[in-house]
């Protein structure tokens, strides 16, 4: 066994002084294995999502608990789930899946406020946090807390209500878990207090917001007739292998059957392991070749180390969750 490892990973007489893993035939075999594997994994995850699928471990009840925990630590009052805000969050998630966008404002100009008002919530203050690609609830909350603007939303004294939606579906071609958190407050007395405290002048129109940041809007309580928005497919439609269930006031993504293997973790871990292994073997090859004073016809290992390191960074960036 030891001899096999040395033969495979270190330059020695048995492998013509070049680790067997770096031989052309082995490189070609591994390359082909990844090419074939990519289509195989894709096919299996599409055909048998119960075997190889996306696992949704983000829970709205847990989101509420963790959010309120952070607020309690900051000496703020807890937020209360509001069914209308949860409906608004679900509407937003549906809209993002249906129209395939990842932004606070839809490509056709639909703001978060439209979803909130359509759900029947007349807000004084409102805000929205979005997250995608996270595998568990605490990662989502931590990511929001680590971003100043999202943190400001979570720890704002202006809000007293919150609504969550967790959806699973295809966004920009990627099977992902989408989390929508909508904040709001309706009370007139509270609004006056908040406005007074922050020295903000009330505006008749919602504040113009930039697309890349979470949003806080303020609006005088003016009853306006909103044009009805054409119904969008439900979350259940957006995520075929899963079903939607209502738990309390929030939408929970509940798998009909939890997949045996989480496809995202599976591909990420295999890719990172292979890349790290190659970097390790290239470094080892440089050290041992120098130590043994080997002269060989080969490419520069340093080049390959740089190239694979770039792919490792790329893989980490591309597979981590994102917030806006």
């Amino acid at each position: 066994m030891r001899r096999f490892f040395l033969h495979f990973f270190t330059p020695r007489h048995s492998n013509n002084h070049r680790a067997k893993l770096l031989h052309h035939k082995v490189l070609l075999t591994i390359t082909l294995a990844f090419f074939v594997g990519s289509f195989f994994v894709n096919y299996i995850s599409r055909t048998y999502p119960s075997v190889l699928g996306v696992v949704a471990e983000v829970d709205t009840q847990e989101l509420l608990i963790l959010t309120n925990q952070k607020r309690a630590e900051a000496g703020l009052t807890p937020l209360v789930i509001d069914e209308r805000l949860s409906r608004a969050a679900e509407g937003k998630a549906n809209d993002m899946f249906t129209n395939d966008y990842w932004a606070h404002i839809s490509p056709d100009g639909k703001t978060p406020w439209i979803f909130i008002r359509t759900a029947g919530y007349s807000y004084v203050f409102a805000g929205e946090n979005l997250a995608r690609g996270f595998s568990n609830t605490s990662d989502v909350v931590n990511a929001w807390m680590n971003s100043q603007s999202h943190r400001d939303n979570m720890l704002s004294s202006k809000y007293n209500n919150v609504g969550f939606a967790v959806g699973q579906g295809k966004l920009n071609g990627e099977d992902t878990i989408l989390v929508v958190e909508m904040f709001g407050s309706t009370g007139q007395s509270q609004a006056i207090a908040a406005v007074s405290k922050d020295q903000v002048i009330e505006d008749q129109n919602p504040q113009v917001v930039e697309q890349e940041t979470p949003v806080v809007a303020q609006e005088a309580q003016v009853v306006t007739e909103e044009k009805s928005i054409s119904p969008t497919p439900s979350l259940a439609q957006a995520r075929k292998p899963q079903e939607k269930s209502i738990k309390g006031n929030s939408i929970i993504v509940a798998s009909a059957k939890t997949p045996v293997i989480n496809v995202n973790s599976f591909t990420r871990n295999i890719s990172l392991f292979a890349l790290a292994l190659f970097v390790f073997v290239f470094v080892l090859d440089i050290i041992l070749a120098r130590k043994k004073k080997l002269v060989r016809v080969a490419g520069h290992n340093i080049d390959h180390i740089f190239f694979f390191t770039m792919i490792i960074i790329l893989a980490v960036i591309l597979t981590r969750g994102a917030i806006i």
Binding site: S38, T267, I287
Partner: protein, 90 residues
């Protein structure tokens, strides 16, 4: 290792700049997976040619080295494809 790095400092620094620029581009076009994959293919081709060119200028180019760079580039591409096809888009 460091002697070799010093000897070819210009080449290695330019390679690092190219790779960092590629990373920046890929993050910039996020989350468009098709565009990201296209950028990655282009950068892999540049990487392979850059390596071959360097050996050519160094007068130590051989078919074995050409194959090695091509295979390393193809391996990198296949791993990214595996990642994208396996749940992260495409």
């Amino acid at each position: 290792m460091f002697d070799k790095f010093k000897k070819h400092i210009g080449y290695y620094l330019s390679l690092i700049v190219i790779l960092i620029f590629a990373l920046y581009l890929v993050v910039l076009v996020s989350p468009d997976r098709q565009l990201q994959m296209s950028i990655f293919i282009v950068i892999t081709i540049i990487y392979v040619f850059w390596g071959i060119l360097h050996h050519l200028l160094n007068h130590d180019l051989s078919s074995k080295i050409v194959i090695e760079y091509t295979l390393v580039g193809a391996l990198g591409m296949s791993i990214i494809l595996f990642l994208f096809k396996g749940g992260f888009g495409l």
